[in-house]
Structure formats: structure tokens, C-alpha cells
Amino acid sequence: MSKKSFRQAINEALRQEMRRDPHVVLMGEDIAGGQGGTSGVTDAWGGVLGVTKGLYTEFGPERVLDTPISEAAYIGAAAGAAATGLRPVAELMFVDFIGSCLDQVLNQAAKFRYMFGGKARTPMVIRAMYGAGFNAAAQHSQSLYPLFTHIPGLKVVIPSSPYEAKGLLIEAIRDDDPVIFLENKVMYDDEEDVPDEAYTIPFGEANLTREGQDVTIVAIGRMVGMANEAADRLEKQGITCTVIDPRTTSPLDEQTILECVAETGRLVVVDESSPRCNMACDISALVAEQAFHTLKAPIKRVVPPHTPVPFSTPLEKLYMPSADKIEAAVKSLMKQHTHEVA
């Protein structure tokens, strides 16, 4: 066990799985870097933010494949390779670039198993960065996990910390279905204790980062940290919260969410993705349908507005959910007139 950054945790998961299983191959743009360069330096980048650094040096060009800027071809190649014996981990750099290769995910990888009558396995992982807060503007800041969650056949993972990232990525690589693994780009330098050995965290099992009496907060990815911060502050004001990190939006641990809401009677969902048809809608619908009678107050969603992500710092700050906004949402629920639950 030692302190590791989110970046190191992911690097270590990839490295350990590549050592364990020779079928695991990586592909992506500049995941090594330096191919065809004039200095002869290989592994020059190790990914645009250095996440895959050193893997080319250890595993060589047959297992760490730099690609041309041709997402449709290499994401499709990952699907084809997965269906025929390899276990590819393809890096899409920014999840926004899914626009250039969505067919390979939506109509190909996600549907093989079902369309082929259960006769295919497509053990591929697509890693990509998501999220706002980096001044990366409208084409490099989206949180597109609802888009993937919407597609039957895909599993969707959004780790909320370095520990979560390592265990969930190893699980993703060992899983036999196509997995979308989304890394929040502002979290790469976050640190916490992470075991040195390989371990897995199962999909579809939510993590309760804290338990309380008054309000259940379901938060996704980077929002988990913000929810915990808000809960810390609220506790000092006498309001205690349960914070749920679903870890995976597909599959979704509905049971845990319903149980916690039954205990607290109040629900806040914090979701960084665009507010229409996002996870906050999905989880709200789940609770409205199956736990309506346990609610003491209306469900509250802390989400950005229905706009592209703005570039300018103050606008982006206004756009983003925050601990302040979560705290205010929880307090507003505590003030609501509540009806007695029989």
C-alpha cells in the first residue's frame, strides 16, 4: 500500500494486467509517442497527459500500438480484435472524440453478443477523459456517460478516486463485455493509498462513502468528492448524509440506492453531465417509480444547465456543480414541508 495518484493507479492497473495476460494490448494516439520522430526517443509522451508512460518501454510495439488519428478505424479494430481473441484497451483521449467513431461502439461492439445469439464475446475497454473544469471548452469537456449508459450491451465505469480507478480498471479488463471507462481529467493528480498488488472492484456494487440519517446523495465520478465535502460541512450544521458512489452507471446498483433512500427519505443526485436524459434523470425515475412512498420531499438534482461547456473561467465555474451547490440543495430539501410517512 502506498500513496498513488489517479494517473499512477491507472498506469499500474494496465501494467499489471498486461503482465498477467499476454492478450491485453493497448492502442491509441500517442499512448507511447515518438514513432516516426527524429530524435529516436520512444515513449516520448505516454499519452497526452502521461497516463500510459513507460508501458511501451516495458511491453514494446506489439502490445502498445500508437495509432494514426483515425478513431473510427482503431476503435473498430479494438472491437474486431476483441471478438477474435485479443483483449484490447483502446484510449480515445477525450470522450468528446466519440463523435468520430460512435458507430463502432453503438452498432458494432455493443450489439455483437445479442445480435449473434450469444455467440460472441467482446472483451474490450475504451478509456477516455471526460469532464469540465479544465478550460478545455465545448469540444473537450463533455461528460458523455449517459450516452453510453443508454446503449444496451455496454458497461460504463466512472471511478471517483485512485483506489477506485485501479480496482475498476482491472475488473474492466477482465470483463468479457465492452466497457467504457471514463477518467475525469482534473483528477489525475489526486492521491490516496492504493494497494500495490492487483485487485478488482465488482461492477454494479455501489460504494457508500459515508452514512447518515437525513439525505441520500448519489454522486458520480468527480462529483463524489464534492458530495463528501458538502456532507462534511452539513454534518457540522447537524444534517447527516449518506453518499453513494454507484461506480458504474451500467450496470447500476439500484438496490443500494433504493435502500438508502428508504432510510433517509430524501434524495439529491449530483451529475456533471448535461441535464436532459442524464443519470440524475435515470436515478430520479428509479426512485420515483419504486420508492415514491418513502420520500419525504421532492427529489433534487444538482446538474449543469442545458448548454455546451463554456470556455471562460467564470462561466465554466457557474456551469459546474460544486460542493456549495450540493450543500444548498440538501438544505433546501431539509426546509421543504414534509409529509409524514406512514
Partner: protein, 321 residues
């Protein structure tokens, strides 16, 4: 080739403006005051300027993530660009786009682009507008060697040919897409790719304004006259990292220094026009000073400009609601 004196002066001024603008951004970025990603165009100035010298506001261009040079060459306001890069209300996109999304449709500038290969399909559409509206306009897509490997780009070459569009596809080949050399990433040649679509192909030295100007003139005249699209392959070199913060360990030691010494488009231009007495060195010096002042005041104005107001967040998602 005869080039009018005012075209030479304007072109020098545009190249010089790009150079000073970008070098200033390099310095300002290091102070941490500029948010987001910034990709500099230094070393490539003659390409944007040599091509855009043949275009008017009636013509359309689409640019890339490395878009500042194309914007300046197409006449986008330098002060408005700087303010945009600083995320201020006075920016050309009101601070909502930033470096990678500078656009000004009133100048025929259809936008820088955060998506590699985003431009070529848009330029097919712009060319279709020009053709359908019979406004005599042409549409020009600038894109990199890396972007030449995107499916969108290759589909666009085909579509433009099938529709016989007044389009020019300018491949700015600086030898790298991020940290990967085009010798690794690009199979075959750009020339053969054009030939594969039956498209006219021209190439030029992107560090020599005169080479670009002459070749682009031929390409644009061809497209404008209704003979169909052209690929213009421009050979050049980028002087800074892929984006600010890239240490460029993938490039040989001394490579950039050598490029700067031997292939600086500003020096090449100055030598040519002064040796042939086309322009007086003092005319160029005057431009240098004016440009320094213009960029300095753009930076000062940007830093002093107001941030966008909160209500801007919700504005302009749609035309009508």
C-alpha cells in the same frame, strides 16, 4: 510572378502579426494567466497568409486547433482574438469558445476546430453554398498531416470531387501529429491520395511565401473557375510543441533551431523582397514596429477586459427557444 506592392506589404504584415501574436502567447501562457489549451502556429505563417492572400471575405475557410494564424490571415480582429483567448467578454466569441474555437463568419472564417478533421466536411458544405448561390466564392479547408488520416477528411475528398465543388484542401504538413511523425502515421503519400480521388494536386514550400502564393493562386483559380476541388500540399515545420507545455523530446536536438535559422518565412521573405528591391527594408521595419504595438495593446486590452456576465452562460444555445 508579379505581386502588387500592397499585397506584399499586407502579407508581410499578416505573417509578422501571426509571429508576434504567437510568440507573445508563448510567454503569456508560461505565466499561467491563459486558460486551456494553446497550439501555436509559429513557423507556418507563410502558409495561411500565402493562401488567404487570394481570398476575400466572400470566400470561406475552416481551420484547426492550430488556428490563430488562419484567423489573422483571414482578417479576424487581433484584439478580439486575444480577448477570446483570455476568456473575456470582448472576445470574438464573447469568451465562450477560447483559442480552439475562434470563429468569425462575417470574415468567412468558419472556425478553428477542436476536432481533428472537423474542417474538411464543413468546407464541402461551404463550397456547396458558394456553388449553389453562385457567389463566385471558394471554400478552403486547412488541416494537418495528422488530420489527413481521419475518415472525415478522406470522405470529404471524395464528396468534393463527386460534387465538383469549388473547394481547396490545404494539407499543412509539419511532419507531426502531436508526438507522432507522419512517416509513421501516414501511409502512402498525399499526392497519391489526391490521385486516388482523381483530384488535382499541387505542392509548395510552406516556408516561402512566394512559393505558397503562386501555388495557392493556381489552386484557388482552378476551384473558382468551376473545374473542381484541389489538394494543396504545403510542406512546413512547427517551431513550438504540439501544445504549450510539450517538451518535444521526439524531435532531434537542434532540429527546431535549424528550422528557425534556415527556414524562417519572415527572413526568407525579407531577403527576397529586399534583394530584388521590391520593398525597402524600412517599410518592413515600420511594419514590425506597428505589429509590436498592435499585439502589445491587444494583450493589455484583453487583460483589462471584463469577464462575461453570468447571463451569458444560458445565452445562444439556440437561435429561438
Amino acid at each position: 510572378m508579379q505581386i502588387a506592392r500592397d499585397v506584399l506589404l499586407q502579407s508581410y504584415r499578416a505573417m509578422r502579426t501571426i509571429r508576434v501574436f504567437e510568440e507573445r502567447l508563448h510567454v503569456e501562457f508560461a505565466t499561467g494567466e491563459i486558460p486551456g489549451f494553446v497550439h501555436l502556429y509559429c513557423g507556418e505563417e507563410a502558409s495561411a497568409v500565402g493562401v488567404c492572400a487570394h481570398l476575400s471575405e466572400n470566400d470561406t475557410i475552416a481551420s484547426t486547433h492550430r488556428g490563430h494564424g488562419h484567423c489573422i490571415a483571414k482578417g479576424v480582429d487581433v484584439g478580439g482574438m486575444m480577448a477570446e483567448i483570455y476568456g473575456r467578454q470582448t472576445g470574438v466569441c464573447r469568451g465562450k469558445g477560447g483559442s480552439m474555437h475562434i470563429a468569425d463568419l462575417s470574415k468567412g472564417m468558419l472556425g478553428a476546430n477542436g476536432i481533428v478533421g472537423g474542417g474538411p466536411p464543413l468546407i464541402c458544405g461551404a463550397a456547396l453554398s458558394h456553388k449553389t448561390l453562385k457567389d463566385n466564392g471558394v471554400a478552403v479547408a486547412f488541416y494537418g498531416d495528422g488530420a489527413s488520416n481521419e475518415g472525415f477528411t478522406l470522405e470529404s475528398l471524395n464528396l468534393a470531387t463527386v460534387w465538383k465543388l469549388p473547394a481547396v484542401f490545404v494539407v499543412e504538413d509539419n511532419g507531426y501529429g502531436e508526438a507522432t511523425g507522419s512517416s509513421y502515421a501516414c501511409a502512402g503519400t498525399q499526392k497519391d491520395r489526391a490521385a486516388g480521388f482523381g483530384m488535382k494536386y499541387l505542392e509548395c514550400d510552406g516556408t516561402d511565401f512566394f512559393s505558397v502564393y503562386e501555388t495557392a493562386g493556381e489552386a484557388i483559380a482552378h476551384a473558382r473557375s468551376g473545374k473542381g476541388p484541389v489538394m494543396l500540399h504545403v510542406h512546413l515545420s512547427r517551431w513550438y510543441g504540439h501544445f504549450e507545455g510539450d517538451a518535444m523530446t521526439y524531435r532531434a536536438a537542434g532540429e527546431v533551431a535549424r528550422e528557425k535559422e534556415t527556414r524562417d518565412c519572415l527572413n526568407i521573405f525579407r531577403d527576397k523582397v529586399t534583394q530584388t528591391s521590391l520593398l525597402d527594408p524600412t517599410a518592413l521595419d515600420d511594419i514590425d514596429h506597428a505589429v509590436d504595438d498592435e499585439v502589445e495593446s491587444a494583450v493589455q486590452a484583453a487583460k483589462a477586459a471584463p469577464w462575461p456576465e453570468d447571463k451569458a452562460l444560458m445565452a445562444d444555445v439556440y437561435v429561438s427557444y
